[in-house]
Each structure stands twice: as structure tokens, then as C-alpha cells.
């Protein structure tokens, strides 16, 4: 009888401890499964690469919507009410989120400011403007911190670190994932730098239609001579187009980088009037949401820059001038 009781107790213990163990394992596998909102397309790719399937990444604005012209809907407000963390630019590129945050008034929502502590470029090279909404932030900075590799990696590390603090059981995984992702991004930069190594850019005068690419050109060691149209995301009026053409001529630009959504008719007019070579870069803030969207866009941008500088320096411009 005693033996039967012992066997019974033994099985009870085995059953109890295996139950506890399996619960603990399940907890570990599950993690804290945060719901992370993002305001811009690159942040979706970054966070998705950091968390993998350990958290849910939710874009605030719908796919294929331009953040410059975005208007919030009740559905988007509901998303904002449902998330645990929100990843923001906070330098002026996602201004739409401020009134939305004010409207939902959530004290418990954790905000990750991707640009905090990042070395920034002042808007249009030492042109300072006092910001009206923040006493601490009186200099206007270039908000396109995500159109770069080195700057993006620093932001990805910041996000991974902060998510790790919120979810310590997944911190190591986030760190590992972010390092692997950073390595892939760096390879792209190294590849572009390698191709540009022997390109003679001495006679090249490069301009962009807006200053969103300043971080990218800086890390490539390429000097931008002029920004010919500081505002973007808007269709130029005939007067603005005329002004753009005048600026290109004045700055003696021979390569102009426009945006992918810059209309062909304007590109044709500029080419006809100035004769400068025109290439298009992605602003990475409009399109579908996917883990590889940022990588694809950056690769395309780097390839375009390499192609533009190589063509213009080796045979193009020199042959033309000869």
C-alpha cells in the first residue's frame, strides 16, 4: 500500500514539475510579444528585422501613402490606441503623429525617438531657424536621418536597445538580429564605396532637388554643390520650375538627383534647359510595408549614385566637354 502511495506521489510530482517546466518554456518562447507602431516605412523594415516574429509591427499610415500628404482616419486612431510602443522620427518628418498622440492621450504608450542623440545635419548647411514648438530644439535639422546607412544603423541599435529594456527576455535576440541586419546594410555601403574608389569626381557638380539625401552623400564622401528645390512632395509651379532651372545654371550643376515620383515632364524640361544628367533616388517613405523594403530602396539608391558618378566622370561629361 505504502509503495502504491509512493508511486502515486512520484507521478504527481513528475506531472506537476513537467507542467511548470512546460509553462516556463512556453513563456520563454512567447516572449512579451509587444505591439510596436511605426510612423515611417523605413522604421517598419528596421523593427521587423530586429524583432522577427517576437513582436508585432504595425504601421500607423496605410501602405502606399505619402506621409507628406497623409490625413489620419478613425481606423488609424484605433491602431494608435492598441499599440504598446511607437517608433517616431520626431525631427519633422512625421508631424502628423503629434495631433494624433494628443487626441488619444495615452500616458502608457512608450515612444521611441529614433533621432535622439544622433549626430544631425543642420537644414541647408548652417541656415538656422528657430522651431516654434520646442524650446529645447532651436536649430532646424535635416529630418531624413533614415536615408543613410551609418545613421540608420545607429538608430536600429537604439531601437533594439530600448525594445530590449521593455522586453528583457528577448533583449539578446533583438541585439543579435540588429547586428546581423547592420552587417548586411554595411556590406551595401562598402560595395558602393568600393565602386566609387577610382571615380574622379573633381569636375562634377552635383545637386539634389531637396536636401533629404545629405546624410547619404556625406557618408559616401561625395560633395553636394546645391539643393535646387528645398521643398519636396509638392508639384512645382511654372515659377518654381524656372527658379530651379536658374539655380542649376548658376551652380553649374552637371548631375541632378531628383526623386522617383518627380514627374517626367519636369525632368525633360530641366534636361532641355540645362543639359545636366538627371537620376532619380527613392525617398523611402512611400510604398508597401515589408522587412526588405528599406534594403531594396537603399540598394537602388546606392546603385543609382554609383552609376551616375561613374557615367558622368569617366566618359560622359569628359567626352562631352572634349
Amino acid at each position: 500500500m505504502k509503495n502504491k502511495v509512493k508511486v502515486f506521489l512520484f507521478f504527481i510530482c513528475v506531472f506537476f514539475f513537467s507542467g511548470v517546466f512546460s509553462l516556463a518554456t512556453a513563456g520563454q518562447e512567447k516572449g512579451c510579444h509587444l505591439k510596436i507602431g511605426v510612423t515611417l516605412h523605413p522604421y517598419y523594415s528596421w523593427v521587423k528585422n530586429i524583432v522577427g516574429d517576437r513582436a508585432e509591427v504595425i504601421p500607423i499610415i496605410p501602405p502606399n501613402t505619402d506621409p507628406h500628404s497623409y490625413q489620419p482616419t478613425p481606423k488609424d486612431m484605433a491602431v494608435l490606441n492598441d499599440i504598446d510602443v511607437l517608433v517616431v522620427n520626431n525631427l519633422g518628418h512625421d508631424e502628423f503623429i503629434k495631433p494624433m498622440l494628443k487626441a488619444v492621450n495615452r500616458k502608457d504608450l512608450v515612444i521611441i525617438d529614433t533621432s535622439k542623440g544622433l549626430p544631425l545635419i543642420p537644414v541647408q548647411r548652417h541656415v538656422y531657424a528657430f522651431e516654434k514648438d520646442s524650446a529645447n530644439n532651436q536649430v532646424a535639422y535635416n529630418s531624413h536621418t533614415y536615408i543613410s546607412i551609418t545613421g540608420s544603423i545607429q538608430q536600429i541599435q537604439n531601437i533594439a536597445r530600448q525594445l530590449g529594456r521593455l522586453c528583457p527576455e528577448d533583449a539578446k535576440i533583438f541585439r543579435k538580429n540588429s547586428r546581423a541586419y547592420a552587417r548586411r546594410l554595411r556590406k551595401m555601403l562598402a560595395n558602393a564605396l568600393h565602386q566609387l574608389e577610382n571615380v574622379d569626381t573633381t569636375d562634377l557638380r552635383i545637386a539634389t532637388v531637396h536636401d533629404g539625401y545629405a546624410y547619404l552623400f556625406q557618408e559616401l564622401g561625395v560633395e553636394v554643390a546645391a539643393v535646387v528645390q528645398p521643398r519636396h512632395g509638392i508639384e512645382p509651379t511654372p515659377r518654381q520650375l524656372e527658379d530651379t532651372i536658374k539655380r542649376i545654371k548658376r551652380a553649374k550643376v552637371n548631375i541632378l538627383f531628383t526623386e522617383l515620383d518627380y514627374k517626367k515632364k519636369y525632368v525633360d524640361i530641366i534636361y532641355k534647359e540645362t543639359g545636366c544628367r538627371i537620376y532619380s533616388l527613392s525617398h523611402i517613405s512611400n510604398g508597401p510595408y515589408s522587412a526588405d523594403f528599406f534594403e531594396k530602396c537603399m540598394k537602388k539608391n546606392l546603385d543609382t549614385i554609383v552609376k551616375a558618378l561613374t557615367e558622368s566622370s569617366s566618359h560622359g561629361e569628359h567626352a562631352k566637354s572634349a
Binding site: N136, N137, V139, T202
Partner: protein
């Protein structure tokens, strides 16, 4: 006869009335306008002073500090690179418990220690690690300075020190540092120091004495 305020009547010795008529003037309006302009100017001056004072407070620098906005040539690229790699070094330190060597950082393909990720003017940097008790210095000097500059190759002259400090380390850090009072859980802080020429490592304690500048991030939003 009706009189206006600008007329004055008096009687002369011979009994004739003398009427002095002053020319029409807008003195009162002019005075009022001048007062208004003065008030506007005073308000503008007050506003300018208050804004300027705030700006100066925010950008207050010690003599051994320099703002990142005013870095020249390719120094911003190196600064960004060092800021970015600091996070990786901390991750390795936390995973392995010791500061990674320069060789290890090269193997990890981390710029500026791995040169493939830098423009030609920065590829000549040679790095050395100087670890201390609770801190580490990574010192970099460009060995390409002196080589003839050519198109696309303009070696940066500046020397750099990346200093990472473990705030919970055993010893006091070798120089000034900012203690983050708002983030008590913060364990590490890092600094980038610059000297505008190729110079040997001056020793951890002597950066300020030897004229090195601590690059301060202008984006110090807290």
C-alpha cells in the same frame, strides 16, 4: 469769430487784435506713432534677448568642447562612424564581459576599424586600444596624411579618441563626463575627442592639457 486751438488772440498797444495762426501740424499723432514704434522695438529687443539667452544657454560649451555641427571636411563621417560603433562595442562588452580588441572589431566588420566601409580619405586610420579600470580609449591616427592628395583621395588630418566609460566601473573615469541624472539605469556613456592634426596618444588623463577637444552632439534632446 470762431477760433481753433492753434489760434491765439491778444490785443496790441494800439488796440488792434493780433491773431497768431499756427500752421496745421500732426505733432500729437507723430508723438503717438513714435511711442508705438518705440514700444514695438522694445518688445522685439526683449524677445530677441530672451531667445538669444536661451540659445546661448543650450549651446554653452566648456573650453575643451567643440560642437559636432562645426566639424570640417570628412570629420563628420568619422564622428558618425565612431558614434555608431560605440553601440556595437557596448553590445560585445555586455555579451563577453571585456572590451573588444581592435582586431576583433575589424573581424566584426565594424567601421571605422574595418576600412572597407570608409571613403578613401579615411582608410589610412590606424587604431589602438588603451583599456583602463571601467573605461577604454580607442585612439586613431591617419597614416595616409602626407601622401599626395589626388582626385577622390584627400586624407583627413584629424586624430580621434573614442572613449567609452562604464559608469559602474571600479575607478573614476580619466576625464570629464556627463552624468545622466534623468536616466539612472544608464550604465555606459561614450565620448569622441578630436585633435586637428596627426598626434600620438597623449595618455588618458592628458587629453585636455594637450589641446584635444571633446565633440559635443548638438542634438542633445533629453
Amino acid at each position: 469769430m470762431a477760433t481753433t486751438g492753434s489760434e491765439r488772440r491778444s490785443t496790441s498797444d494800439n488796440g488792434l487784435k493780433v491773431v497768431i495762426v499756427r500752421p496745421l501740424s500732426a505733432r500729437r499723432e507723430a508723438v503717438a506713432l513714435a511711442c508705438l514704434l518705440g514700444l514695438i522695438l522694445a518688445l522685439m529687443a526683449g524677445r530677441f534677448y530672451s531667445v538669444r539667452k536661451k540659445g546661448l544657454d543650450a549651446s554653452h560649451l566648456e573650453p575643451y568642447q567643440q560642437k559636432d555641427l562645426f566639424l570640417k571636411n570628412q570629420a563628420p563621417i568619422m564622428y558618425r562612424s565612431l558614434c555608431s560603433v560605440a553601440g556595437d562595442i557596448l553590445d560585445i562588452f555586455q555579451d563577453e564581459g571585456s572590451w573588444p580588441s581592435v582586431k576583433r572589431l575589424e573581424e566584426e566588420e565594424l567601421p571605422p576599424f574595418a576600412k572597407d566601409f570608409l571613403p578613401p580619405g579615411l582608410k589610412g586610420y590606424v587604431w589602438k586600444m588603451y583599456p583602463g579600470q571601467g573605461w577604454v580609449d580607442y585612439f586613431g591616427i591617419n597614416k595616409d596624411v602626407g601622401k599626395k592628395a589626388r582626385a577622390g583621395f584627400d586624407p583627413l588630418k584629424d586624430s580621434f579618441v573614442l572613449r567609452i566609460i562604464d559608469l559602474r566601473g571600479a575607478a573614476r573615469p580619466p576625464g570629464p563626463y556627463v552624468e545622466n541624472k534623468t536616466d539612472q539605469g544608464k550604465r555606459f556613456t561614450w565620448q569622441v575627442w578630436i585633435y586637428p592634426a596627426p598626434r600620438d596618444y597623449p595618455g588618458a588623463q592628458k587629453l585636455i592639457d594637450k589641446g584635444w577637444k571633446w565633440i559635443v552632439n548638438s542634438n542633445n534632446r533629453s
